[in-house]
Amino acid sequence: MTPTLTFPKGGVHPPESKKLTEQLAVEVMPLPAELEIILGQHIGAPCSPTVAKRGEVGEGDLVAEVKKGLGVPLHAPVAGSIKAIGKSGHPIRVSVPSITLKVDQAAGPREWTAADWQNLDSQELLKKVHEAGIVGIGGAGFPTHVKLKPPADNPVDTLLLNGAECEPYITADHRVMLEQPAEVVEGALIMLKILGITECYIGIESNKPEAIDSMTEAARAASGAEYQIKVVALEVKYPQGSEKQLIEAITSRKVPAMALPSAVGVVVQNVSTTKAVRDAVVLGKPLIEKVVTISGLGIKRPANLLVKVGTKLSDIVEYCGGTKPELARVVMGGPMMGFAVSSLDIPVTKTTSSILFLTEDELDTRPLSACIHCGWCLDACPMGLEPKEIGIYVEANRAEDTEQFGVFECFECGSCAYVCPAKRPLVQFVRLAKMKAKR
């Protein structure tokens, strides 16, 4: 086997905890009674509803769109009627505008028929991606069509597919790569055509050998004189799937601080996003469902579920047999960067990759103490920042002086807080510093 690639500076090795779900095939969750579709699903402007209360919609029909600013339209995940246009719980913003959709259980799933895309030009393909409401599934949810249209002064030569899935527990991308490799590769071909380039690398951490094999097979079948798609094995190290670290690992190029990957000629897309692009272009199917890993020792039956956008956590818990009494924390997203939620009355969005039900044994709730200057955070930080100093300055009410330690280059991966023996909440300190420090 060829040696695995990685980023050179920093990183940590948390327990992978993927055994709970990595062998479980994706199962389709039955439709719940209601969906809660948040209007601001991701980064950028929130949508405004295009439907009225009591209106009837079919699966995939437009229900909201962006009036102005950066964003993508929103579609009905299933057929049903609009029960209300009101508020929903949200993991970060507590309460946000949303549409409540009463599911029509009798309607049955819509048939999406495949169409040929080879004759479409890049503008037409891009329009399909935009209209399907596709955003980055892995992280912040940046609109995909914007990433596929890099600025003219930054010519792009490489497409990277991110299959690292470096967060512990999560196996959603793993299952997609294993079960639908051809679809992912077809999505890559579509994006290569949109970008007008020929070279694509798919980075996968070496703890997913089956996914590496299946993707290598599919990539070989699709590569030829026109397009070259190559799978590269990556070292298992967090945060391998961070955009800048992934680009450095595979291409040895360093994205400058505050710049986008296109500054070094690269576009990065998550593998599940790529699959969604394929569905949008080939089937005309908008982004209305996604694979979510349900894991942790606090849920009765861990699973990889295909759920509709808007499915509430409470419905998922019920489907997975309920929670165990030892459950101590519910996290949306990975254990390193995800958000803890206080209630199950919160829906899945386009960017939810996992829901973790963690017990006291999996968490570490020991209280913080003073920084002992061990310097472990300096060694762990993949960006070469000084987390300990940021924490000390914030504690001393000098958050505005933390820019010198690189607080604005921090992407909050949590590696520093993971290794900190004094259990200092360094990510929290960084967020406070970012709020208070003026640029």
Partner: protein
């Protein structure tokens, strides 16, 4: 409703307590050996030192209105290290007084764990050296060879005092040194294994190095400080330590005067040393150079204690000079 603290939700199993108690454990083998070399009273001195440090820590934290964290192991470690740098024949009063200086003044009045500028144990030793100069420079015991570790209880300590190797070399010259400690190969062997006069913890170079290597294996310390410190010390001792240039004995310089204990267990103290690797190399080289300067030109035969104390406040400054290398600068360079 569940606990909703901020990410990351998983954390490594390491903790301050684990680090501190592991370092304490690494100091136990040299302590046991010291009992067989100097007698059972070193165990009592160490016990007084450790208990005093922990008691002073608890009282200080109560008095200053801070949470009492005496079981985090940091005070126990200071007590252990304090005992290691005092002679084996001193009164039990000394470690107790040293503990007050080390923990109350040196640690808690300067802000508590994490904020103290100077290594508390060495501050305690410096205080004892200034207030009990005779005991601290003459209460040396010759190593025992008969294994009669209780003998000093019966016969008393005063009658058997001796001198440390570096003091003999400094005050009486190389000839007297040879006469007292034997041929160079005998000296290296006995000093490395531990049979020689000295402080409680500076007996066996072998056990100190093994303890330090274990801390490296656990990744609690890295090679940067010990290698840089000992390298500088050996190099400068070789150049300037002899009768003429380049005739000094670098190996002897490493095996005497607590150099190994200082390099692996004192200079590597997290709080009082720099955090960045480059800064650590410079910091430790400074300690090595100051140690040689004090040994050759100063009034004390040893020197690493003051060298470390002098470099301690340089830690934060060196960290601000040698910052970690950022991932990549912004486009158009730094603002």
């Amino acid at each position: 409703m569940w606990n909703v603290s901020i990410s990351p939700h998983v954390r490594s199993s390491e903790s301050v307590e684990k680090i501190m108690w592991t370092v304490v454990a690494c100091l136990v083998p040299p302590l046991i050996l010291s009992v067989f070399i100097f007698g059972i009273q070193v165990l009592l001195i160490t016990a007084v030192s450790v208990v005093s440090c922990m008691a002073v820590e608890a009282i200080s934290q109560k008095v200053l209105g801070r949470p009492v964290s005496v079981m985090d192991g940091s005070a126990a470690l200071t007590g252990m290290l304090l005992a290691f740098v005092i002679p084996p024949g001193v009164s039990f009063l000394l470690p107790a007084l040293g503990a007050v200086m080390a923990i109350y003044i040196g640690k808690h009045l300067l802000g508590g764990l994490g904020y103290n500028i100077f290594n508390p144990a060495l501050l305690g030793r410096a205080f004892l050296l200034a207030t009990f100069p005779v005991a601290m420079t003459s209460a040396w015991l010759p190593p025992m060879t008969d294994g009669a570790i209780f003998s000093y209880f019966a016969g008393g300590i005063d009658a058997v005092s001796t001198a440390t190797p570096l003091a003999v070399m400094k005050e009486q010259g190389m000839a007297a040194f040879r006469e007292m400690f034997g041929t160079p190969s005998e000296i290296y062997t006995s000093f490395f294994l531990g049979w020689r006069p000295g402080c409680i913890g500076e007996t066996s170079g072998l056990l100190i190095v093994l303890g330090g290597l274990y801390l490296m294996y656990r990744r609690y310390i890295t090679w940067h400080i010990p290698v840089s410190l000992l390298g500088t010390l050996a190099l400068l001792s070789w150049i300037f330590g002899g009768e003429s240039l380049f005739t000094g004995d670098p190996l002897l310089a490493l095996l005497t005067g607590g150099a190994l204990l200082g390099a692996f267990f004192m200079a590597t103290d997290y709080v009082t040393s720099p955090s960045g690797k480059t800064a650590q190399v410079v910091y430790a080289a400074g300690i090595g150079a100051l140690t040689v300067l004090i040994r050759l030109k100063g009034g004390y035969p040893e020197g690493i204690c003051y060298a470390i104390l002098l470099m301690n406040p340089m830690g934060p400054i060196l960290d601000s000079w040698f910052k970690p290398k950022r991932f990549a600068p912004p486009l158009g360079g730094e603002k």
